[in-house]
């Protein structure tokens, strides 16, 4: 086994070992703290291995692949499992394990008030999640990627429903699973089509144009579900019912980005279909703009960030649609850092004021300087202010999209950049500056170092992430040079304008939304897309289902009952034939003899 393979296996199995141990040793899990220690230990090992792996790759080490046959039938191997240690998986692995580690350490403080058994359960889920995510990231083929894909879906379900006693959390968990599972059928059928065409689940196959379009469009359906693109984005805002660190890790930085990662991974397939890429461009840019509009009118800080995540994932999808793997993938990376940072900072604020509503906060920057600074850095990075990491990645995206489809997606994304700065400016101004809105906000104070430490790490990465651009490009073998054209200048100007406008509208303690946004607020409250699905489920699926259940009970089974019943009735009707009187039987015998004789004569 070569060094990269060993490292990848350590990265994969360290969290698996933690999860397995906690699963089979309930005593350990229920004590809480040991569970946290084990999980974090697993993540540290995994992160260390990931760093070494990435260093190897950056120094030009060879890509490595190790697989074992997993499904065999007849004389052919259907599928293999194993690890693939190349540039894509190494850089993604670092992002995933690093953010996971930060979030887990943050959770030590954030989840401190939980009972030990539920604290232990929380960390067990985290270990399971990291393992599942690594299965996905290190997958040597699309089947294993699908396996990890489904597993992270389940851990997402478990973590959204972590507060399972709360009905809204229970509903949100199930909804997230259903929506993504629905979309996953696309991935499944895509795998079927791919396998029927090539006999394998490799992502570097050459396909006929029609097959390539079919496969990638089917894959893209799954991406739309997982990465919360319109119109399957509905589960992500609801998923905010989960604990905030979970939102940071799964529903902002890593799991929702799995969809984007799939496109990056299967880039050789996506390259073969211009149709799919155009669809991606349209869906991505549309979602970016649409979700940013909805983010403008949310009052729950986590909902703002959730819609913002949809919106940023739209950027990535659009970049990949425009053919820039580098742009999509690098934005995924920087987004993972600054969005996780924003969520954790928001979590820290929520932890202090015990409310998600930005109107219940106010002036937090003064009382919680670490959190305030972290949130502001995150907001600036997200908005793409020059110098921050988000600027560099967004620039790559915008550059890639600029000349596609008559500049329309480009304009949409520029507009989104402006809106992004505006809604982030609003949260910063309302929640972190001005006067505290109440007792809780006035007495908010910073939490311990377990919560502050991760903020510092992520803030540093959000601030300086731009420095990774060149190495990142080298890793993926793409040329990169920062150029100052009209695009970046325009984007930066729009971002600054957004902040300025937000300050103008919401500064000086004005909390009410301006009248312009009233209409938008109404649209957001109408939940039109949600209502469409609810109609489909309650009025169509459940009606068909109960109709069939009735049919089964009263027609199909009814008919069988009826056959039994009629048999009994037939017997009852035939019973009078048995009179018990000798003359009747003699008569029957005589008739029989005569009949037989007649038949014999006729012959």
């Amino acid at each position: 086994m070569t060094r990269p393979i060993v490292l990848a296996l350590v990265g994969l199995f360290a969290p698996a070992a933690a999860a397995l141990l906690l699963a089979v040793a309930p005593a350990l899990r229920r004590r809480g703290t040991p569970a946290a220690a084990l999980t974090i230990l697993g993540s540290v090992a995994s992160f260390g291995a990931a760093l070494l792996l990435l260093a190897d790759r950056l120094h030009g080490g060879p890509a490595a692949l190790a697989t074992v046959p997993w499904l065999r039938s007849g004389d052919s191997v259907i599928a293999e499992i194993g690890v693939c240690a190349d540039g894509v998986s190494a850089s993604m692995l670092v992002v995933v394990t690093l953010v996971a580690l930060c979030v887990q350490v943050f959770s030590l403080g954030y989840m401190h008030d939980e009972q030990p058994p539920s604290f232990g359960r929380y960390f067990t889920y985290h270990a399971l999640f990291l393992f599942s995510m690594n299965v996905l990231v290190l997958a040597p083929n699309l089947l294993q990627l699908f396996g990890g894909w489904e597993l992270v879906g389940v851990t997402s379900y478990l973590l959204i429903g972590f507060y399972f006693r709360k009905p809204s959390a229970a509903r949100a968990a199930v909804k997230a699973f259903w929506v993504t599972k629905f979309a996953d059928m696309g991935l499944l059928f895509g795998l079927f089509v791919l396998f029927a065409a090539t006999g394998s689940f490799r992502w570097d196959a050459h396909l006929a144009p029609a097959v390539a379009t079919a496969v990638t469009l089917l894959f893209f359906l799954a991406v739309v579900g997982k990465s919360a693109q319109f119109p399957l984005h509905v589960w992500l805002p609801d998923a905010m019912e989960g604990p905030t660190p979970v939102s940071a890790l799964l529903h902002a930085a890593t799991m929702v980005a799995a969809g984007v990662f799939l496109i990056v991974r299967a880039n050789p397939l996506f390259e073969q279909s211009e149709t799919t890429r155009n669809v991606m461009l349209i869906v991505g840019a549309g979602t970016a703009l649409f979700a940013a509009c909805l983010a403008l009118v949310q009052s729950d800080i986590k909902k703002v960030l959730a819609y913002s995540t949809c919106s940023q994932l739209g950027y990535m999808v659009a970049a990949l649609g425009a053919g820039s793997m580098m742009g999509g993938f690098f934005h995924l990376t920087t987004h993972a850092f600054f969005k996780a940072l924003l969520f954790l900072a928001a979590g820290s604020a929520i932890h202090a004021v015990h409310s998600n509503e930005i109107d219940d906060m106010g002036g937090l920057a003064k009382r919680m300087p670490w959190t305030g600074a972290a949130f502001v850095i995150g907001a600036l990075a997200l908005a793409g202010i020059p110098g921050f990491s988000g600027f560099f990645s967004k620039d790559l995206v915008l550059e890639a999209v600029e000349h596609r489809l008559g500049h329309v997606p480009w304009i949409a994304l520029l507009g989104t950049a402006f809106l992004t700065a505006f809604y982030m400016g609003r949260v910063v101004v309302v929640a972190f500056f001005g006067a505290p809105s109440g007792e809780k906000a006035a007495h908010a104070h910073e939490a311990g170092w377990s919560m502050r430490g991760p903020l510092v790490v992520l803030a540093a990465l959000s601030l300086l992430g731009g420095a990774f651009t060149a190495p990142f490009a080298r890793l993926h073998g793409e040329p990169y040079a920062l150029h100052l054209g009209v695009g970046p200048v325009l984007a930066a100007a729009l971002a600054l304008g957004g902040f300025a406008l937000a300050y103008r509208v919401y500064g000086a303690d004005r909390r009410a939304a301006p009248a312009v946004l009233e209409g938008l607020s109404k649209v957001a409250r109408s939940r039109a897309v949600n209502r469409f699905y609810e109609f489909g489920f309650h009025r169509v699926a459940l009606v068909v289902s109960s109709g069939l259940a009735w049919t089964d009970r009263y027609l199909v089974d009814g008919l069988i009952n009826m056959i039994g019943y009629e048999t009994l009735e037939g017997g009852r009707r035939a019973r009078p034939l048995q009179t018990g009187l000798a003359p009747d039987y003699v008569l029957a015998v005589v008739l029989g003899v005569v009949g037989l004789a007649a038949w014999a004569v006729a012959q």
Partner: protein, 512 residues
């Protein structure tokens, strides 16, 4: 090599039953331990049999042959092929867990365990019989004890009379446990009658000298005979496999049956049906199979989708699981209908995967029912607070049921659907995948309704987590589900050996 292992595996539960019969009535512990011992011998024996099966040599191994009626060519001929090991193992696991789950049965416990063990001997016998008549006898031994087990130890509920056929309702007391037992037995016996007719046709056409399956398989029957006989076997055995529209004994039967009986019935008995269709119907009648297979596959697709849709609006927990069995058995039949190595591998793997999964489900349902005294999921809620362990295993069963990678359910569904798609049956595959999606809807709805939400209401006083023997049942079943999901080749490799031997008769191109 002849170690008489197969005789031991098959006979152990029956011998245990014999011992239990002579125990005094009050010997509660002895009855249970002897039963568990019988089950353990079968379980350990089947593990050993599976591990020592020589895949390289393939074919029939551990052949034991005892002439019963030499003049007619009836032999008690036991042997293990590639499929035998995994299916014996499934049965061993289920009966072992089933005995553990039955630990608390108090009503006429001696008779209960005797019947349960006799039934299992029948099941085990079917999986290794190489003589068609003996195969059929074992089959009947497996089916008939159900009548008493449900009729005596079952539970009744009311089903309101509605629809065009309500005249029958009043006569039958639909929903009653005796009704369920009677319906199940009669429907399966009608199926048996069809099978018996088919057996005699095959026996006579093959020269009336032997019931040996190898001999029967070596005979070529004329095309018309095959086309007439195949549906008899398909529907005869298929009734037990829950083939639409002859599945309706299943929801009522499973809903009325006591815990371990449901486990065995959905877990292994329904597999006998599917096994019979493949092992007898398809292998002996290649031309009949090729003629009918479009119908078999289409009906299987209906099973998957129809079963899942029916399950979605059930309000009784046992009915949900029962309809999900109807749906999942469709996957077995769908795999069989592809007539490809992968499809058959998947079908047999699904027998095992579904058997374990549904065994786990019914064990959990039994635990919940025993404590909540209701099966109406609308009345439940928040049970995870007081029975966290049960909630975990229930979730695991759900995840395998909806085909989550890493659980056994994924392997079989994926392989079967892939095989169906690859052999050009796009509609079947779409129906199957949709069925799996609908499964995700109804199982997670049920989980949420039962276990999630605010703590249980005051109506439930006796809720508690699983107890000692119950843990045993849950752990052995849950671990098997995950182990097979993570490393399916444990069973898939031997299954494949069996598949290739059997399928070679239908599809000449398939050679090892």
């Amino acid at each position: 090599m002849n170690d008489h292992l197969l005789s031991l595996i098959v006979a152990a539960p029956a011998l245990a039953a014999l011992v239990v019969m002579f125990l005094p009535d009050g010997a509660r512990q002895a009855i249970r331990w002897v039963s568990l011992l019988g089950a353990s011998v079968s379980l350990l024996g089947s593990i050993y049999a599976l591990a020592t099966y020589d895949s390289a040599r393939a074919g029939l191994q551990r052949v034991e042959d005892y002439p019963i009626v030499p003049s007619m060519g009836v032999h008690l001929r036991l042997a293990q092929d590639g499929w035998g090991g995994p299916l014996l193992l499934l049965t061993g696991v289920i009966i072992f867990a089933g005995v553990l789950a039955s630990w608390t049965v108090s009503k006429r416990d001696k008779e209960y365990f005797v019947l349960l063990l006799v039934l299992v001997s029948g099941v085990l016998g079917v999986f290794v019989s190489q003589d068609l008549l003996i195969f059929f006898l074992f089959y009947e031994v497996a089916v008939l004890p159900m009548y008493l087990l449900i009729g005596i130890w079952g539970a009744s509920h009311a089903v309101p009379a509605k629809g065009p056929f309500q005249a029958a309702w009043k006569a039958f007391a639909v929903g009653d446990k005796q009704y369920a037992a009677m319906k199940l037995t009669l429907m399966l016996l009608v199926g048996s009658a069809a099978i018996m007719a088919a057996i005699f046709v095959l026996y006579l056409q093959a020269g009336a000298t032997s019931f040996d399956l190898a001999h029967l398989a070596a005979t070529s029957y004329d095309r018309d005979t095959q086309i007439i006989v195949f549906p008899l076997i398909w529907l005869g055995f298929g009734t037990l496999a829950g083939v639409f529209p002859f599945h309706t004994w299943s929801p009522d039967g499973h809903a009325s049956a006591p815990t371990a009986v449901s486990m065995l019935h959905a877990g292994v008995l329904m597999k006998l049906g599917a096994f019979g269709v493949m092992r007898v119907g398809m292998v002996l009648l290649p031309e009949g199979t090729h003629f009918w297979v479009p119908v078999v596959g289409a009906v299987a697709a209906v099973n998957i989708l129809y079963g899942a849709l029916c399950a979605m609006s059930q309000t009784d927990l046992k009915y949900i699981v029962a309809y999900s069995s109807v749906s999942h058995m469709g996957v077995v039949m769908l795999g069989a209908a592809t007539l490809t190595p992968a499809g058959w591998d998947g079908a047999v793997f699904q027998m095992v995967a579904h058997g374990i999964m549904t065994g786990l489900f019914f064990a959990l349902v039994g635990i919940v029912y025993e404590r909540a005294h209701t099966r109406a999921i609308a009345k439940m809620g928040g049970f995870a607070t007081v029975m966290p362990g049960v909630a975990v295993f229930f979730t695991l069963a759900c995840l395998s049921s909806l085909g989550l990678p890493g659980t056994a359910g994924f392997v079989s569904e994926f392989v079967v659907f892939l095989a169906a798609w690859r052999s050009g049956h796009l509609i079947w595959t779409i129906a199957g995948v949709l069925g799996a999606f609908i499964t995700a809807i109804y199982v997670l709805r049920a989980t949420r309704a039962i276990f999630w939400g605010p703590g249980p209401s005051d109506d439930f006083h006796e809720l508690s987590d699983a107890r000692r023997t119950e843990w045993g049942a849950l752990i052995i079943l849950g671990t098997s589900l995950v182990a097979l999901g993570v490393w399916p080749r444990l069973l898939l490799d031997p299954i494949d050996v069996g598949t290739l031997t059997h399928l070679a008769r239908l599809v000449p191109g398939v050679v090892r």
